[in-house]
Each structure stands twice: as C-alpha cells, then as structure tokens.
Subunit: 338 residues, 2 copies
C-alpha cells in the first residue's frame, strides 16, 4: 500500500541497507549515492514507517501520559510541560483521560503496555486505595518505567514529581490560624487521591498543634469539581455556627465555593476568609483576589518528563527517584481576618 524502503532501494539502484543508512545518517555512504537516494526519497515523498523501525529496534519513541481530567487547565499545563520536553527529545505522547474512573486508569496502563511505550507519566487517582488489588497488581506487573506527577501512590514506592501536600495543607491552615481564625473548614477532593488525603492531614496537624479540636462538620469531602463544591459551600454557610475561613483544595472547587458565596452575599474575606489550592487564572484577571497555593503545573510537567528521561537514560542511581516540590503561596489578601 504505502511505499517502502525497498521501493526506494530499487528505484535508486542500491540495497536496502544503503537506504537505511541514508535515512539514519549512520555508517558510510558515498556522497553521490546519498544524493541519489535522497532525491528518490524526496520525489516519492517517502516517510519511513516508525512501526517497522520500532519493531526492528525493539524500542519505541512514544511515551504514555495518563491524567484524570484533560479539561482541567491544571492538567493541560502538566501535559504541555511534558509535551515540550518530549518533543525536544523526539518522543511522542499517547494520551489517556480517565475521568477519575479506576477501570479506565487500569485499561490505560494495559494499553500502554501493549503499545510498548518507553515510559509512562501519570497522575494516579487512586493512590490511597491500599486494598485495591487489581490496581496494585496492574502497576506491579507492568514493568515499564513510571513517573508519577503531582500525586503519589501509598502502597508502592515509585518515582515521581510530588508536591508536598501535607506541608501545603499545614501551611494553608497555619496561615489562617495566624491571622486569628480558629473555625476553619476544609473542602477536600476525593480522598482516594493522595493530594486530597495529604492536604487534609496537614490541616489536621496544624489544628492539633494549635490545640484546636477537629470538627467533622468542617471537613467537607468534595470531588474536585465545581458543582459539588458549590453545594457543599452553600450548606456550610447556612450553618448556624459557621466557620470564618475555608480552604478549597482545587481550582474548580474554588470556583464552586465562590459562586455559593456570591449568591449568599458573603464577602471574602470579611465574612469568610479563603485559602485555595491551584491558580485560577481568571480570578486574578477578574480582580477576585484569592490567596492560593501554586503548584506550577507546567513546571511539574517538565520536571516529570525530565525525570523520565533520566530514568530511561540510566542517569539515576537510586531505584526510585522522588522529587518533592514545595508549592508556593501567592498572597492576595483573602486569608485576612477582618
């Protein structure tokens, strides 16, 4: 169907290997021969098959990337970062979007194995589920280098770029405590994901250190999305004894919370202080100033791809290389107690 290397060989009057040499700039080829072959390649608009090359070399030029929600700009940034570094290194990206569904994540891993990709970069959605045998099993059997980004897996030590979410949760809470808040609520993401669980841990730790009782009704379990956050916030502020501060654990949850507050005419920070996780570009632009923990997802993406490259090139001495990034707090004033 498609034109092949042997067609080119025939048309140029040379052998397969010579064409291969020209294609790969490897070994010696007489200048004249090279010119001739190149001309035939050009004329026939020949592009060699990566599939055949991969099979022959038992090595592909593709990596896999698995994210929970590609419509979330956070992961868009991560992917962009990965993609930039991958491209510089001649690697392609096979993308999987899991919608936070365990089965999709497992299937994605297996498909990537089938594709014999070089390595995988993923944000696991279920790293806290210690007893999920199928998940663990899939990862254990994969035998492909995996780099985790921004979320860890509890039951297995793996390489990755992580965010110090315990400390981030701790710092966020402490910031509010220092400002004089004591009734602080937190709205977490799905607790089967590591970031959500860790932020909550940090929150609890901070309260404990300040000898403040942890109130269950101040701990709201969201799902990282707007709608749930909106509903939870609405309920929260209808509470008689409502908190004076709220920590939201993802960009989308922040939006949902703000919607609820707007509707009820609750002012930030006068009526309710807020510290958020993740940047919401639009908020800055709209002059809604929310103090937030910035994880710099673009940079996380780049770092994870670089780490994967290091692993593939055997530049890593340890078995698992774990880089923990400390997110920074961007102060906008919404944490004040007024």
């Amino acid at each position: 169907m498609s034109i092949t290397i042997s067609d080119i060989a025939r048309l140029s009057g040379v052998s397969l290997s010579t064409v291969s040499r020209v294609l790969n700039n490897s070994g010696y080829v007489k200048d004249e021969t090279r010119k001739k072959v190149e001309e035939v390649i050009r004329q026939n608009n020949f592009i060699p098959s990566a599939i055949a090359r991969n099979l022959s070399k038992s090595q592909s030029t593709t990596i896999g990337i698995i994210v929970p929600d590609i419509t979330n700009s956070y992961f868009g940034e991560v992917i962009k970062g990965v993609s930039e570094i991958a491209e510089e290194n001649g690697l392609n990206i096979i993308l999987f979007n899991t919608d936070n569904i365990l089965e999709k994540e497992i299937r994605a891993l297996n498909v990537l194995k089938e594709q014999r990709i070089r390595g995988i970069i993923m944000t696991p959605g279920f790293g806290e589920e210690k007893d999920n045998f199928k998940y663990i099993d899939t990862i254990n059997k994969l035998n492909i280098p995996i780099v985790l980004v921004s979320a860890d897996i509890k039951f297995k030590k793996m390489s990755g770029i992580f965010v110090d979410n315990i400390n981030a949760g701790f710092d966020a809470t402490n910031l509010l405590l220092k400002k004089g808040h004591s009734k602080i609520a937190i709205m977490t993401g799905i607790l089967s994901s590591e970031p959500a669980a860790h932020r909550l841990l940090g929150y609890k730790k901070a309260l404990k250190e300040s000898n403040i009782d942890i109130e269950q009704r101040y701990i709201l379990s969201g799902d990282f999305n707007m709608k749930k956050a909106y509903e939870l916030t609405k309920k929260l502020i209808e509470d008689e004894d409502r908190p004076t501060a709220l920590i939201t654990c993802s960009n989308r949850m922040t939006i949902g919370a703000i919607k609820a507050l707007k509707e009820k005419n609750i002012n930030i920070p006068e009526d309710l202080a807020i510290v958020a996780f993740d940047r919401v570009a639009l908020l800055d632009y709209l002059g809604i100033n929310i103090t937030y923990i910035d994880e710099l997802p673009l940079s996380l993406g780049k770092k994870s791809m670089n780490l994967l490259l290091d692993i593939l090139n055997n530049n890593i001495s340890e078995k698992e290389k774990r880089i923990i990034v400390k997110p920074r707090i961007i102060f906008k004033g919404s944490e004040e107690k007024i």
Copy 2:
C-alpha cells in the same frame, strides 16, 4: 527482553498460530487447548505487542490529534470528546500541541505519518494562509484521512466539523445592532486562522447590511490570548469616541477584556455591551453574565471522531464530508443597550 507469543507457544506446547488464534478469538481452537494457552498467558502476564501486530496487519489502532493550545479548556473539551469515542472503538490517541506555531503543526503531521496512524483530527491554525507552500504541500502529500475540527482550511476542500463562523459573527453583530448599538468593535483572534477571519467577515457583512461604515479602529487583531486582549481593550476604551459594544472572539480574550473593563470601572452592559465567543464556565459561576456564542466543543470533538470513523469504515459516499454546526447564542443580557 519482553516475553513473546512464541514463548507462550512453547510453554503451552502449541504453535504460534494457535496462540495467535486464542489471542484474537479467530478461527477454531479446541476448548481444552484454548484454556491451556490462556492459562499460560495469564501466568506469564503476557500482553502481545501492538507494534508487531500493527506491522503485520499494516494497520495501526492509533489516531492523531493536533490542537493549538491544550491548556485552553476549549481544546480540552474537544480532546475529551474525541477520546471518549475513540476509546469506545479501541483507538488510541497521539497528541500534539502546536502553540500556534506553523512549524510545529507541520512536524506533527509528518510524525503522525511516520507513525502510520489511521487518521488525524486537527484544528488547523493557519487555514487562511493561501500562499504558504510548505503547509499546503505537507497536507497534500500526507495521504491520511484528516478531519478538521472547528477551523477550516481555505485552500483545500477537506472533511471536517465546522462552525458556521460567518453567520455566528453576523448574528453576534446583528444582535448588537438590533439592540441599538452602532459603534461596535470586534476583537478577533489571529487572522491566519479561519474562525477569526470568518467571524470578522460576518461582522463586516452585518454592518454593511445596516449601512454602517466599517471603522478600522474598531477592528482589533488579537491572538486569542488574555494579555493581548487586555491591552487592546485598554486602548480601545481610552479612545475619545469609543464604541458602545464589543465582540470578543475567544474565551481567553473575553477574560482579558473584562479585566481591562474592571480596572477602568467600565460597567457591562451600561458602559460597554459585550457579546463573546465560547463559554467561560467560570464567568457563569461568578455571576458575571456575558452573552456568548457557544460552540459546544465537547460535542465538536465527538462529532469529529465519529466522522473520522465513518471515513475509515467507508461509510461516506462523498469525497469530503463537511458538517457545519450552527453555534447557539446564550443570552445573558450583556448585549443590551442601556
């Protein structure tokens, strides 16, 4: 290195072809034999190589997708739509992000050719550049089914899911005219992209039909992004004889414009009416009501993947199947003249 089909054959005491039959559920295999082989496969955690299968069948199970900016949720939605349908049909996705850079787009096309993918779904960024020989040439020589999404290419009739941007631009402008506006500005995206060019055409058409002169200073050429939009808007509203209405041609540009307006205390729609393109989920949530043209990118993604499937399965009689989607206007009141 990795375990292969012949290892499985040897371990099960059968031939390669029998293992292959088991793997593909093709041909007759005695139940007992099948069980035996399946057991060996399971025990060895064998996953066949898609690379080898692709080579052997001269057919891959991958498609390519090329977008200008993956961090924009518009394209996130498109990709999500594509991905859902692709997955249902056992197809994987190789992703390319071009940052609106021509060379990257061309390279992406060639890499996808090299990968012998089944088809390509892309949003071209340079469909208006009639004289760009290299671009045209690449596409012409590709010889892979391409489905365009949401942006067309002027110099070549291609299959795709398009948005009727001329009419959308026309309608947006007319809406404002009907409300009594006559000084209407438009902020377009990069004019080398078809949607930007077409929306501008629609705008001009509407003004002409209403016998209103087209003022060059009311036509602002942006780049689809916030920063430029912010600057352009700032300049626009400093104008002595400033317009009473503005059309913004992308979600990000809308944000940029709103930032500028906020800063200058210009109210919407009292001081400046706005009609935008694309939904900005956050605006709705924040109670900032902007009338917008909704293209439903998730649906565009699904439709484009379905179209590609139809093409691949020869369900299409025409050489080029072009589906034109009429976007809907979501009225929020920001178009009023008060």
